[in-house]
């Protein structure tokens, strides 16, 4: 076992790293689904836009200003998307909102395509994060070590917020029973907006870490990670934040081990096979709850 770990250390480390990045994105999916029962197809593309914004801003503004600016703009983007594309359809059948989400995803990708001209953009090097470091014979970047730590810290903060603040309680109430929460006077619009803001906030952090590792951003950079992160959320139990985090780490690690074993073509397909298995065996995921229909 130790031998296995040693020879594959770089893969396992990348797995933990990308798992953390996925976790930050997966939380966004699971929170939005928990409250609105909506699969926010556009979330992965918001993540990609955060990457692009960093590329463009860092060219005109010093790095210490670009980072907070990117966070702010990403949050704004997530907020706007909810207000413009999802809020008007809140009373429409569920399929309409999902289609709207797909439309937003389409729009963001085409907008990115237009602005970048289709060429991959090189991500700026964030000093210290991009430094190389050697552990136990495997060479990797600082970001690989920072990611899990940062992820865990952010998740702890988020969980604390949900458990101990009033807004957190409101969020829990809304995800249990949307209509009754409204009737009890909870300001639904605020709760939903905050959910999207938190999701986008975390996604922007995810983008800093992810693109520092992968070094280039293309308009479709968000599509596959987005899909995988959604699977992570389903695997962990949609609506459960710790579930999404565990799911994300699981997918990240397995994906990289598969690459390590030489099956690179299937590293992406693995996520979907996992999805199918989960949906067949335990659709509610690891920590999900079952709801019964009343006839």
């Amino acid at each position: 076992m130790i031998e296995f770990l040693h020879t594959n250390l770089s893969y396992i480390l990348s797995g933990i790293s990308v798992g953390g990045q996925y976790a930050l994105i997966a939380i966004g999916y699971t929170m939005v689904y928990g409250i609105l029962r909506l699969i926010n197809f556009a979330h992965g593309d918001v993540f990609m836009c955060a990457g692009l914004m960093m590329v463009y801003l860092s060219a005109s503004v010093p790095l210490w200003a670009a980072v907070p600016l990117v966070i702010l703009l990403t949050v704004l983007l997530g907020f706007l998307i909810e207000r413009v594309a999802y809020k008007p359809l809140r009373s429409a059948p569920r399929m309409s909102v999902m289609i709207s989400a797909i439309g937003v995803s389409y729009l963001l990708q085409n907008a990115a395509l237009y602005f970048t001209g289709g060429l991959a953009k090189i991500y700026p090097m964030i000093p210290w994060l991009s430094n190389s470091i050697t552990i136990w014979g495997a060479t990797t970047k600082m970001v690989t070590l920072i990611t899990p730590v940062l992820t865990i810290i952010l998740v702890i903060c988020l969980t604390a917020m949900i458990k101990y603040t009033k807004i957190g309680m409101a969020m829990r109430a809304v995800s249990k029973d949307f209509e009754t929460s409204q009737l009890m006077g909870i300001r639904i619009d605020s709760v939903i907006s905050i959910t999207f803001i938190i999701g986008s906030f975390l996604a922007s952090f995810g983008s800093f870490l992810y693109f520092t590792n992968y070094a280039s951003v293309t308009p479709t950079s968000g599509a596959m990670p987005g899909l995988k992160c959604f699977v992570a959320a389903v695997f962990g139990g949609i609506g459960s934040i710790p579930g999404a985090v565990i799911g994300a780490f699981f997918i990240g690690i397995c994906e990289n081990i598969i690459k390590g074993l030489g099956w690179t073509t299937f590293s992406d397909a693995f996520t979907f096979v996992l999805l199918i298995i989960i949906l067949l065996v335990k659709p509610t995921g690891l920590f999900g709850e079952k709801a019964t229909d009343k006839v």
Binding site: I39, L275, L279
Partner: protein, 374 residues
């Protein structure tokens, strides 16, 4: 009342016949390279797959996002079957693999096999997937489509699929002849005929007892079950039939494009079809057809100028490659947000419907919801 419906029916047939004659004439008269033929062919192909998706999503209420996967299966089945044996054995297409398929077939047989292959996969996938709730069904079918794409690009299946490489030199639109003769059929006309027959069959299904059962499942599946409709069997039926025609449309796409590659059949393709269905109206076959032609015309033809820097106004360098798609996406969002019922809603385009509408306008009455055949 009966007589009026009969007249309406005849008018509809006449109208459709006119379209076909028009296409035939157009092909004789206009230069074959004109963009209008690309639009017509692609529009017809996308009409078929949009109608097949509408059958599943709009009429049975099963939100499935797996269309691209079934088109892929159909396209590949068609290409591999119609590629002449001589080409298969040579190195021109199967450069890195030794082709394992040692026979070839004609176009018609290949088209049908394409549909059957997709249908068989659908039957297998449907067994586990159709039990899931709507959102999960969407993700599961999306997942399967991605798995299918990965499998078709897999090196180990190279002897059949040519792995991640392109498939070409198979029978295409220029090879279509009237059966048992050597008389060539004009390509656009053929696409229209093939798509037309398939769409007609789907319409017959929708208006039959089974179509009503599908709609019952969509409207209230608990009541449907209580009235004796076996949910799983009917959902599976709808899924398999929809995929059959998606497979055929994939094959026709292969004929149209002359080359195909698995990487082309991404989930983005399914999203486009879904958008077409929504724009046309979920639950309207004629809506899907109209929307398909509009969608393809707009994206391939009418908005082309937006990509050309020649048309820049006021010195703003707005119009360049990619602007067309951007404007297009914005238009789609506007349609989805403000016209979510689509062009036709859930009604079909019909002459009796148009006649009713005209009569009301004449009598000065406001237009009613019921105009158009439900």
């Amino acid at each position: 009342m009966e007589k009026k419906d009969k007249t309406g029916l005849w008018l509809t047939f006449g109208f459709i016949a006119l379209i076909y004659i028009g296409v035939f004439v157009l092909e004789q008269v206009v230069n074959a390279n004109h963009i209008v033929f690309t639009v017509l062919k692609k529009g017809a192909i996308y009409s078929l797959v949009a109608v097949s998706m509408n059958l599943l999503n709009g009429f049975t209420g099963l939100f499935s996002l797996g269309q691209a996967g079934f088109m892929l299966i159909g396209a590949y089945t068609y290409a591999v079957l119609t590629m002449p044996v001589a080409v298969k054995l040579s190195d021109s297409v199967y450069k890195y693999y030794d082709c394992a398929v040692t026979f070839d077939t004609g176009i018609l047989a290949a088209l049908i096999c394409a549909g059957l292959a997709a249908a068989i996969f659908a039957a297998l996938i449907g067994l586990p997937v159709l039990r899931l709730k709507s959102d999960y069904l969407a993700i599961a079918t999306l997942g399967f489509a991605e798995i299918i794409r990965a499998v078709f690009q897999w090196g180990a299946l190279g002897p059949i699929t040519n792995g991640a490489n392109v498939l070409r030199s198979y029978l295409d639109l220029t090879d279509v002849t009237i059966p048992f003769t050597d008389i060539p059929i004009p390509p656009t006309l053929f696409v229209f005929i093939a798509a037309g027959i398939c769409i007609a069959v789907i319409m017959l299904l929708i208006n039959s007892s089974y179509g009503r059962a599908f709609k019952a499942i969509r409207d209230d599946e608990i009541a449907a079950e209580a009235m004796g409709i076996n949910l799983f069997r009917h959902k599976e039926l709808s899924f398999v039939i929809s995929s059959f025609f998606a497979g055929i449309s994939g094959a026709m796409l292969a004929m149209f494009q002359y080359t195909i590659q698995a990487s082309q059949f991404k989930s983005a393709m399914t999203y486009e079809i879904l958008l077409i269905v929504v724009i046309g109206g979920i639950g309207s076959v004629s809506g899907s057809c109209i929307a398909s032609f509009l969608f393809i015309s707009a994206s391939e033809w009418w908005l082309r100028f937006l990509d050309d820097s020649k048309y820049n106004i006021l010195g703003m360098n707005l119009m360049r490659a990619g602007f067309r798609k951007l404007v297009f996406s914005v238009i789609i969002m506007i349609l989805v947000l403000f016209f979510s019922r689509g062009i036709m809603g859930d009604k079909e385009l019909s002459f009796s419907g148009l006649a009713k509408r005209l009569k009301r306008k004449k009598a000065g009455m406001p237009a009613k919801e019921g105009d158009g055949d439900a």
